[in-house]
């Protein structure tokens, strides 16, 4: 999808409800430097969501959608779980895949898009829960990394299977008791960020979604590196407030606790040398651009 195509047919435009006019007029498609700061002031690419009230996955969705460098040229691949309930509300192309198959689907999709649109950079982004990414889909997840497929995998880590009522997942912490896992988990949380690094991901980040600027940076880095170099992985802590017995307003505190010193989700990043070089170049270019813009402003003033 090209941003020029996100317009209405003139002959039927006047029967379209206001929200679609707004989407065409004030969404951030094609806007350079779009980011989380557009949330609340521009037409967002997600308005309603169908998650539990206060679920941190909802704010994670907002930050991710606001951070995409080119939403009009991005295709999401989702999988079954709480996240999949949100995709029908999202104004970005997306495909729902059979539970666990998301990275296999994304591999084929990315390769096909490359052939079909050789001159356009099409970003493919997988977004799935931890059950889909780390348990049932682990084979597909890792094989895509081994093969150096050029797309980003995002895992919403809520440390269990939330959508089916709270079963144990590989990313659950040791000893945790969930509604459908009453005996408590016997082994450690799978160290997927480290596995991702060893399996060939060039950019890996694990963080909570308590700080939008951090999420934005990680998403942008991951997408840029996936475009140019190879697979990237982001693991976001989006606690299931329903399962851990928190109120709607308590998700943020839970994430802040989890990322404080000694917590399970202290932010970490693994960046390959090649990826670091690319990120440095992008940062230098952005700096130069900003400087030039500033100079232009002072000259014209």
């Amino acid at each position: 999808m090209n941003k020029d195509k996100i317009t209405l047919c003139e002959d039927l435009a006047d029967i379209m409800p206001p929200e679609y006019h707004e989407l065409v007029e004030t969404a951030t498609y094609g806007k350079e430097g779009r980011g989380w700061k557009d949330i609340g002031s521009s037409k967002e690419l997600i308005e309603q969501h169908s998650l539990c009230a206060g679920c941190p996955e909802s704010i994670a969705f907002r930050y991710i959608l606001a951070s995409l460098p080119a939403p009009e040229n991005t295709v999401f691949v989702g999988s079954t779980g709480c996240t999949s309930l949100v995709f029908p509300h999202v104004a970005v192309q997306n495909i729902h895949s059979l539970f666990g198959n998301q990275n296999a689907i994304a591999s084929g999709l990315k390769r096909t898009l490359k052939r079909r649109f050789p001159d356009v950079e099409k970003d493919v982004v997988v977004l799935a829960g931890d059950g889909a990414t780390v348990d049932i889909g682990l084979d597909m997840t890792m094989q895509s990394w081994f093969r150096q497929e050029k797309f980003t995998t995002i895992c919403f880590d809520n440390e269990l299977y939330a959508n089916t009522g709270g079963q144990e997942s590989g990313l659950m912490q040791k000893g945790f008791v969930a509604k459908m896992a009453p005996a408590g988990k016997n082994f450690d949380k799978v160290r997927l960020p480290e596995i991702a690094r060893e399996a060939g991901c060039h950019y890996v980040a694990m963080l909570t979604v308590s700080k939008p600027n951090r999420v934005e940076k990680a998403i942008r880095n991951a997408i840029m590196v996936a475009r140019e170099i190879g697979p990237t992985y982001i693991q976001l802590y989006t606690p299931c407030i329903l399962e851990i017995g928190k109120q709607s307003m308590e998700g943020l505190d839970e994430m802040k606790d989890a990322e404080s010193i000694g917590g399970r989700f202290v932010m970490k990043e693994y960046i390959s040398d090649q990826a670091q070089e690319l990120l440095d170049t992008i940062a230098a270019e952005e700096k130069a651009k900003k400087k030039a813009a500033k100079e232009k402003k002072t000259v014209s003033a």
């Binding site: 047919c9 003139e10 039927l12 309603q48």
Partner: protein, 210 residues
């Protein structure tokens, strides 16, 4: 076994998929009328008559003709507007497929997950879907047949819909224009539109203007 007829409902809370009752899709150049395969030409006349006899004839344009994603979409939108003017018929968009609970403005939009709300609210007795992706059209057509007495039609760009009471296939701009020509021909022959007077809804980003 007698042939199952795809009639206007209300049929049942869960009407059977017409395909499971032996209704087959038309071949190119054909249409189906209540499950019976017929030449396309017969379909135009039948659909035009149904529309003109209706109190609240309505066209439901879907995303494939509402969004300007290629030149053909623009042309189809033009043809649909002309058809609506010729009848006259209401234009109510199915702009996307989000399950919009409970906010849907049933007067101004239709949603595939609860299309019956729009049919009931506006008392729509004859409608046509055009530019709606097949799987969403199938869902909506079945729900409408299940819970309302609306006669449904589909101007499908693919192989047609068994679950509509009347379905064309391989929709093109020309086919929409042929339907309009059939309407104009009947009108010339003296068939009068029975539509209750209405005003087409108009909207901008700041809300409803008419």
């Amino acid at each position: 076994m007698s042939q199952y007829q795809v009639k206007a409902g209300p049929e049942a809370f869960l009407p059977p998929a017409a395909a499971s009752m032996g209704v087959i899709l038309p071949n190119p150049g054909e249409c189906h009328i209540e499950g019976r395969i017929a030449p396309e030409e017969e379909g135009y006349e039948y659909a035009a008559r149904k529309f003109l006899e209706a109190k609240v004839p309505t066209i439901f344009p879907g995303p494939l003709v509402l969004w300007n994603w290629n030149e053909n979409a623009t042309k189809k939108a033009k043809a649909i507007r002309a058809l609506a003017d010729a009848l006259p018929a209401r234009l109510i968009p199915m702009a996307d497929y989000r399950p919009k609970y409970p906010k849907i403005d049933a007067e101004a939009e239709i949603n595939p997950n609860h299309p019956n709300l729009t049919i009931w609210h506006n008392k729509i007795d004859v409608c046509i879907f055009v530019g709606v992706h097949c799987h969403q059209a199938n869902l909506a057509l079945k729900i409408i047949r299940g819970g309302t007495d609306c006669f449904t039609m589909a101007m499908c760009a693919q192989a047609g819909h068994e679950d509509a009471c009347l379905s064309f296939r391989d929709a093109t701009v020309e086919k929409i224009e042929k339907l309009m020509a059939a309407v104009n021909k009947l009108k010339k022959e003296g068939v009068k539109s029975q539509a209750v007077p209405f005003k087409q809804i108009k909207m901008t980003s700041s809300g409803r203007v008419a």
